[in-house]
């Protein structure tokens, strides 16, 4: 949630060229979109050397959990939980921050880094010289951003469990839930990044992500808002993710969660379709 960083890749010194062809590409092409795995593998190899960057990104929501959950939680006491009875504030806020950590991981990669690869590294130009197509690039970028969202969410879940903030076995579904948040974020992020003209445009990413982070029911229940604003907040994608994860972790799932999940999946599918078409157009396929 801090000032806009530059792309991690363009700033990380000389780019490692990983074009070793260890096996034939047809190994993977048995199911649609499978070629994109090759690009995901490239990113995984690249980030093996930058693991501390990924680890430090995962630490950010943990600091918020300690500060807001423990520090401010003591000033608040209990709030109304999803099941209708009051829960301690730290149990209330933790699933919200879990959703934020998945969003953060996916957003950083699908915006700043995709832009860097698209405009400065010209990575996709060389990718298109291989059997991969523009749709594979879109799939792989979204897939890698989801992987990064999951990499942020897993340590957060472990810390939540260690702090005794997971109170229900339904929490086992929290990881797929976080992956869904990451998927919707990543697809929308890649799609919107294809419309960016310069680094200055990324100010808008910050301008959108900060209010999403603060007002999506992460830190306080919807009942705090006036009724009209509450209706607007309900349409925010992160709000749906926060509600899904909170209901699961606090053990009060309802059938309505499926509708919320479908809403996030629809955003993801739309973003994916737009991203594929736009990347094809930008790279003149």
């Amino acid at each position: 949630m801090s000032s806009a960083p530059e792309s991690e890749e363009t700033s990380a010194g000389p780019v490692e060229q990983e074009v070793r062809s260890t096996s034939d590409a047809s190994d993977f092409s048995s199911f649609p979109g499978a070629l994109g795995l090759r690009l995901i593998e490239r990113h995984a190899r690249f980030y093996r050397r930058l693991w501390l960057v990924v680890a430090s990104g995962a630490a950010e929501p943990l600091f918020y959990l300690l500060s807001v959950g423990i520090g401010i939680g003591g000033l608040i006491g209990t709030v109304q939980g999803p099941a209708g009875y009051p829960v301690p504030y730290r149990e209330f806020v933790a699933p919200g921050l879990l959703a934020v950590s998945a969003l953060n991981g996916a957003l950083n990669d699908s915006t700043f880094n995709v832009y860097g690869r698209l405009k400065f590294e010209k990575l996709y130009d060389s990718v298109l010289a291989t059997p991969l197509g523009a749709q594979d690039v879109a799939l792989a970028e979204i897939g890698w951003a989801v992987v990064r969202g999951i990499l942020y969410a897993v340590p957060f879940l472990i810390v939540m469990a260690a702090m005794g903030l997971i109170v229900s076995p339904w929490a086992l579904l929290a990881l797929p839930g976080a992956a869904l948040v990451a998927f919707a974020t990543a697809a929308a992020g890649v799609a919107l990044t294809t419309y960016m003209k310069s680094w200055q445009d990324f100010e808008y990413v910050v301008l959108v992500s900060v209010p999403l982070f603060l007002f999506s029911g992460t830190f306080f229940p919807l009942s705090v808002y006036p009724h009209v604003i509450g209706l607007i907040v309900e349409w925010m994608p992160l709000y749906q993710g926060v509600v899904i994860l909170r209901d699961l972790v606090l053990g009060a799932p309802t059938w309505a969660l499926l509708w919320r999940a479908a809403y996030l999946a629809a955003i993801g599918a739309l973003g994916m379709a737009v991203a594929g078409r736009r990347i094809a157009k930008l790279l003149l396929v």
Binding site: M1, S2, S3, A4, P5, E6, E8, S11, A12, G13, L50, L52, V53, S56, G57, A59, E60, F63, Y64, L66, S67, V68, I70, G71, I72, G74, L75, I76, G77, V79, Y89, Q200, E203, V206, L207, V210, P211, L214, F215, F219, F220, V224, Y225
Partner: protein
Amino acid sequence: MSVTASSPADRSRAWGADSRPEGLPPAISPDTLHAPLGKLPGGWELSVRAFRCWLVMYRRTWRASIWSSILGPLFYLGAMGYGLGSLVDAHGTASLGGVSYVVFIAPAVLAVHAMNTALSNSMFPVFGAMRWNSIYLAARATMLRPADINRGHLLFITMRIAMNSACFVIVMAAFGLIRSWWGVLLLPASVLLGLAFAAPVAAWTVTLKTTTPMNYIIRFGSIPLSLFSGTFFPISRLPAWIRPLAYATPLWHGVALCRSLALGTVTAGSAAIHVGYLAAMAAIGLWAGARSYRGRLYV
């Protein structure tokens, strides 16, 4: 082209002064280049010239950052102060000194905003001026000395901190979050806090070879600082063993100073300690900046 020519006329011919296209200013001859420079203007005059270079650039680029630098802290004030604050106030505000939560955190949001403005202007822009667009290297080719280049950039950063802080102080006053006339000192206090971060960080950034360490400063430096320095909850809520560390951080001194000014609880002794601490950091940063800029630019 002969470079061993001896007479001045030969030398300017060797530099192509005769064959220049019409309309271009005369080429600088080696004699001019190697002439003794005479006495350079002392004091801050050359620093102000470096500052004006940054102003010229800012006139072209201010639109990009204006929204996030004004709206960002307002989002935090609205969400934390009013949204979360409604839950805190319902539970009781005795541990906050009896003021409502939004009054408690508004001066802290101001201090954090000043720190973040200072950091975002003294990391990537300094690194870029050294490595990407080489503004510093161009400035080195003029009569500016490394210390002038450093202080000129810091003058510009100070201006940015003052602009952002002034916007937020006006909002605080409009929402009735300033409870004392001491509040007129909030602006200089937040500028001092910003400079206490900007000067040492700029001195450090100019020595970097990659941008990766700057990400660590944000994630392991400014984010924990802004969450645990008595900003969103009193330090007395932290475990006892970690409190001395929180009291030693520069951000806590800035937060405590701004809060005492906004609430009118300021005392001469505590204010002197806070101001002295922050001024010492800024002074050390200026001294270190003159040294590290010299090391990077005169090699």
